[in-house]
Assembly symmetry: none
DNA sequence: GATGAATGAGAATTCATTCAT
DNA sequence: TATGAATGAATTCTCATTCAT
């Protein structure tokens, strides 16, 4: 009769300990011993739940993208340009724990980004984001909330890049107080004027 | 009389070899032996020019920021909004070797970005960039090229963040073909509409 | 449940292997790999028990002084001058393994002896030895076994130095056959005449 | 026409710089660069005068023994036991620079003392010292300054060991204030009583 | 003769991973 | 299942020695 453990709960617990550890010391400076200690487990036990150190990081990052995608899917179609932009503003606000995760991501995958290995996954993700924005814009176009000559597909992708850029910028340099709500509002204002129908 | 060497030239040569090596294998996976071999030197020789591996990365990154600042300083004051935006578009185009450097930057400093150590340097850099854009906008405002109600200071910083965000996005995910000239044009178009004076 | 090891026994085993290795090759010429091999362990395992090479040497030397002090403490108060001198003779006889340890000591700490770092510990040790001899002499004086005008305190310390000097001499040059029992007897004889009451 | 340099003077200068350096940092911690800098020479230049680092130490030590032997040879035959003992006392006083040299000696040769390599040289030296003392004692015996039953040969060697032991003790632990003139006087007093003719 | 730039052998140390208990 | 002791591959860094200038 094997001891019954909830494999998933265990993995989640480990991942939560890992985020904290990685956030505090970085991926490369965190040892397996650190992770195990943070999770209150023995070193060997970690290997019962993850194949190796990299697998822990991967699982962590997968989870993040999964949550992102879910959040996106759950988002209601915005009724107005203003609502849409509010959504963008929200997307640009990154809580510190996610910011930490993004930094870990670059520490782990940074070097690999050049060779399309991880890149493909990301492409998919950003395509999804761009399409999501594009479809929202198309909808707003039909209801006359954005200027009629807008190439919604291109604009969607451009916005995805801009928003993601702000997210990156915030996550990576957010410790500096330069990137605050004011900046985001100003950016949103620029977007507003760039998207809305012209005229009075 | 001993061999006479140009210390600066030697360091430059090493740094150039290092960029290539780091770009190819990443900072953490590159060994001192790799760097030395890439530079056509013995392991020990590297240590005559750099105190250690981290110092190589630091010098590399310092150089990058130095060049960036210099480029900025050299930039002529843009006569028109269009010229200004062309400048932005240019700033968003990152050649692959600089992109590689940016990736190295995050691999090296990423974990440390949370604790304001490196952050301060970056703050200064982005302040500079924001002020630079702000001053250009102020000038454009006086010549009536941007809408008179623009808060040039805030807008300057917002643009700095957006541009830098695009640079990061491009550098980190640029391997995927999603981030191309089209995207940048679309983004610039949004900026244009967000900044220009309203009306017919 | 992990393997259970007796940390102390392990350290002792390592130290014993280390003495042999250091004795054979010297401290500086012995590598961690040598020590590990001699102890029948993997290189990394050593580091589970000692922080580094120096710590091994330190532990070795601490042990030696500990044993010395213990031996001293256990020594019975000598009933006669002859018994006292027999004790000195015994103290001057250094078994080869202790001699090796003394040589290691000088290799490790020799350069540091000038700056009173290690010196303080040694001072304490020799004070103890001197006081020990002094108290024995005082006792012998009360029972009329040494000449009544003897400054037992000074004489105690002088004997400590002389004995220690012989120990050092023996340990360092003992490989040469010059320092044998004959020498020690002759020295003891000189001490005898120098300490005993005068007269017929 | 080769540049004319006084090879001997150069070597002496280097050795003098080396003593200082070794005394300050120890043999193993002193690098060739340190020695060269201390001598005001280029690293490569050292190798024109000494085959390698060890040769420097060897020459240093040889010099020391040479001077010792010379001093001994120059010593006048002592007219009285008191004069003889004064000589011993003098021999036990070690100036700090010689003490440093002795410490270097043990750092360099310590490990090798077990295997009779260096030991043979030392044996010779101590034989010489013992014989020197023995011959002095024999002379003193003929003039009735020491007790007639003294085995001068054995006593000579014993004294050599004792004196050398005190020298070692002083050189190695001299930094501690324990080993002072008082100690030496007391030791000499013990010797005096051990050697002089008995009686009133 | 003099020099110090170049070198690479060699050493200490770390740490992901395995596996006996 | 759970553990942490054991391991050795891999890495950084030092420094005696060589040799082109």
């Amino acid at each position: 009769m094997p001891k019954i453990v909830d494999r998933d709960a265990m993995q989640t617990a480990i991942l939560e300990a890992a985020v904290k550890t990685f956030a505090a010391k970085g991926y490369h400076s965190s040892t397996i011993a650190d992770l195990a200690a943070a999770a209150g487990l023995g070193k060997g036990t970690l290997y019962l739940y993850f194949a190796n150190k990299e697998a822990v990081a991967e699982a962590m990052i997968d989870r993040y993208f999964g949550r992102m995608a879910e959040r996106l899917r759950a988002e209601a179609r915005p009724p107005s340009l203003q609502a849409f932009l509010d959504g963008l503003r929200g997307a640009m606000e990154v809580p510190e724990d996610e910011a930490a995760l993004i930094r870990v991501f670059f520490e782990v995958y940074g070097p690999g980004l050049a060779s399309g290995d991880v890149a493909r996954t990301l492409s998919g993700h950003f395509d999804g984001l761009g399409d999501h924005y594009a479809s929202a814009l198309t909808h707003l176009l039909t209801v006359g909330e954005v200027r009629p000559d807008l190439d919604t597909r291109s604009a969607g992708r451009a916005l995805a890049s801009l928003v993601d850029g702000m997210v990156l910028h915030g996550a990576l340099f957010g410790a500096s107080p330069r990137v605050g709500p004011g900046l985001r509002s100003e950016a949103i204002d620029i977007f507003l004027r760039g998207l809305r129908p012209e005229g009075p």
